[in-house]
């Protein structure tokens, strides 16, 4: 923060960037165009990494609505991702693999899966409504273990340890699978096609959440986070709002789950464990609590960093061939990841978005100091 304070520049910049956001618009546009052409150049690994990041971003936005904006700590996010992923398989699956499947059109299955995740959130929200802070957090952890138990034991629904094949998504006659599709002499496989689907979903989800956060519901959510009693007295139906947010965030998680499933092409129970939930928490904290951009930045950081580190692990400094006793590439990658987590929390208390923050929120953020008092 202090770095912002030493120079009053942000203050000066504030009104301009707010009123006629000329330069920034172009930056955004350029970035977006770049995203559009990437599939023509990047190899599958990168596209897949990108898709993981997009899915993560969608899920993180959902968690940020719940934890960042409404102050309900959730470690059960992975559960709702699982509901989305497996829900999609169950709705879309044709039962050919001997697993329960309704054989619905995949787009409908996707919608239903997201809905299902929402319902799951709604069912849990009464419990959530009674709990606070760390207690809520660990209670939601129970969801993870319930989820894992079901995933491993409800064989004919989940396929048990082996997971389920994910029916490729198809809409308007276009199927998002590896079936050859040449675009400008570039073969479009699953990754290439899904890339655009991912972009669309992320953009839509991001804009929607932003609208919510900046509008009336967002203010009510923050009020619940900051002072629940006052929120009620100001006319906010607290219980209903907390439930609603839980449902909404679960639906985001569900959507992320569907997208992930489509990228993986097979759902595996191991994936939806506690580590995943913690990673999502890490995303919103690292990116910045309570904002959409924070969620997205954090998601990209947390989900890309390990992949990049692993990929270039052999060329990391002071790593040595496995077995020669030194630091193995995998270990080096983990060290860096852990260090990055700590560093960001310590040196960017507001999250990565603070780096790029131009809005006055960021520059005149002093009263975060007074925050201690209302605790």
């Amino acid at each position: 923060m202090s770095d912002v304070l030493t120079k009053p520049a942000p203050e000066a910049a504030t009104p301009r960037t707010r009123k006629l956001p000329g330069p920034r618009v172009y930056v955004w546009l350029a970035g977006f165009v770049l995203l559009l052409v990437l599939p023509f150049y990047l190899e599958r690994f990168w596209l897949q990494a990108g898709l993981f990041a997009m899915a993560a971003a969608i899920g993180a936005i959902g968690l940020n609505l719940l934890t960042g904006a409404t102050g309900q700590l959730s470690m059960g996010h992975a559960f709702f991702l699982a509901v989305g992923a497996y829900g999609y398989c169950a709705f879309a699956g044709d039962g050919a693999d001997g697993l329960t499947g309704l054989g619905l059109p995949t787009w409908l299955a996707a919608v239903l899966a997201v809905g299902l995740a929402g319902v799951a959130g709604g069912v849990f929200s009464p419990i959530a409504g009674r709990l606070r802070g760390a207690y809520l957090g660990i209670a939601t952890l129970a969801l993870i273990f319930i989820g894992q138990h079901v995933l491993f034991n409800a064989h004919d629904l989940t396929g048990g340890f082996n997971g389920r094949d994910v029916p490729p998504f198809s809409i308007f006659g276009l199927t998002f699978d590896d079936s050859e599709l040449l675009v400008a002499a570039v073969p479009f496989g699953t990754a290439e096609k899904l890339w655009y689907l991912g972009l669309v979903l992320l953009l839509a989800g991001g804009l929607f959440a932003r609208g919510v956060l900046r509008g009336r519901p967002g203010r009510a959510m923050n009020a619940i986070r900051d002072h629940q009693i006052a929120a009620g007295v100001m006319g906010v139906p607290v219980a209903r709002y907390r439930a609603a947010v839980f449902v909404l965030s679960s639906m985001y998680a569900g959507l992320a789950g569907v997208l992930l499933a489509l990228v993986f092409q097979r759902t595996v129970p191991e994936y939806f464990g506690m580590v995943l939930s913690l990673e999502y928490l890490a995303m919103i904290v690292i990116g910045g609590l309570g904002s959409v951009s924070g969620a997205v930045v954090g998601a990209v950081f947390v989900s890309l960093l390990p992949q990049i580190l692993t990929r270039y692990s052999d060329s990391l400094p002071l790593v040595s061939e496995a077995g020669t006793g030194g630091v193995s590439p995998g270990e080096a990658a983990k060290y860096l990841y852990g260090a990055a987590l700590v560093a960001v929390v310590l040196f960017l208390p507001g999250g990565l978005v603070r780096l790029a923050a131009r809005r006055p929120k960021a520059s005149s953020a002093q009263p975060s100091g007074t925050e201690g008092n209302d605790r």
Binding site: P8, Q366, G372, N373
Partner: protein, 269 residues
């Protein structure tokens, strides 16, 4: 317990970009009672925070020198300041809401220099001053009424057996009777030799208690001197003592005319 002198020399403080104090100098002679008057945002609380080294908790920072009993306090930590025997009643009570009244008082005694006996005595003292604190010993402090919390905040400070007492609006939210009792307490403690620096909106009360008074306005000392002479100055009478009740009624009447009128809200979708 023996008081000691506090000397503040061109102390400036700011919260990031916000300047809250501009080279303020002030003295609290040994065993004296000094009051600081000032409107909202004048910087009174900031001044006390700067002395007790707690500005950092509000994202603020200070320059200038503060000496207590000859020792420099600037550049030390809050705990050192307490160790020197300075004790502050913070603005807005700040009781430990989740702890019992009893534990709040125990917490107050943590920085105390006295032995067990001294602490026990202090506790008895506090209980006889504010009997309700004895009755509610095991109630969660956060559940006390506003005034009861204020009593607790003051009582907690007394537990430390300080040499210099910094009071930030001790009468805030207290019923007249209780305010009077606090006043008596301050007077008594002061008479026992404890120096007192009193920030108080209830200027009438403050000026009665203090020998010397300073007036802060937007971070600067604009007036200072003997309390009684200040109390006589009409600037202070108007701004801080308010007007006597007779023309108050009239004043209220005028007020309605003065201020901009708020129109009703008709929703026109």
């Amino acid at each position: 317990m023996q008081g000691a002198a506090l000397t503040v020399r061109d102390l400036s403080a700011s919260y990031g970009p916000v300047r809250a104090l501009r080279s303020v100098s002030l003295d609290v002679p040994e065993g004296a009672c000094v009051t600081v008057l000032g409107g909202n945002g004048a910087g009174k609380s900031t001044l006390l925070r700067a002395i007790s080294r707690t500005l950092a908790f509000h994202g603020g920072s200070a320059t200038g020198t503060v000496h207590f009993d000859g020792k420099p306090l600037h550049g030390t930590g809050a705990d050192r300041v307490v160790g020197e025997g300075i004790c502050q009643v913070p603005e807005g009570r700040q009781v430990f809401a989740r702890m019992t009244v009893e534990d709040n008082l125990r917490a107050g005694a943590l920085g105390a220099r006295g032995d067990r006996a001294a602490k026990a005595a202090a506790l008895r003292r506090v209980h006889e001053l504010f009997p309700v604190l004895a009755e509610r010993a095991h109630q969660r402090a956060g559940l006390l009424s506003g005034g009861e919390q204020q009593m607790l905040a003051v009582g907690r400070a007394l537990m430390a057996g300080p040499r210099l007492l910094l009071l930030d609006e001790p009468s805030l939210g207290l019923a007249p009777l209780m305010a009077a009792r606090i006043a008596d307490t301050i007077r008594e403690i002061n008479s026992q030799g404890v120096s007192v620096l009193l920030v108080e909106q209830n200027a009438a009360l403050a000026l009665k208690l203090a020998e010397t008074a300073y007036v802060l306005e937007v971070g600067e000392v604009t007036l200072s001197g003997n309390a009684d002479t200040l109390a006589a100055s009409d600037e202070v009478r108007r701004r801080y003592l308010g007007v006597v009740d007779e023309d108050a009624a009239a004043d209220a009447g005028r007020a309605t005319a003065e201020h901009p009128v708020l129109t009703r809200w008709e929703d026109t979708p």
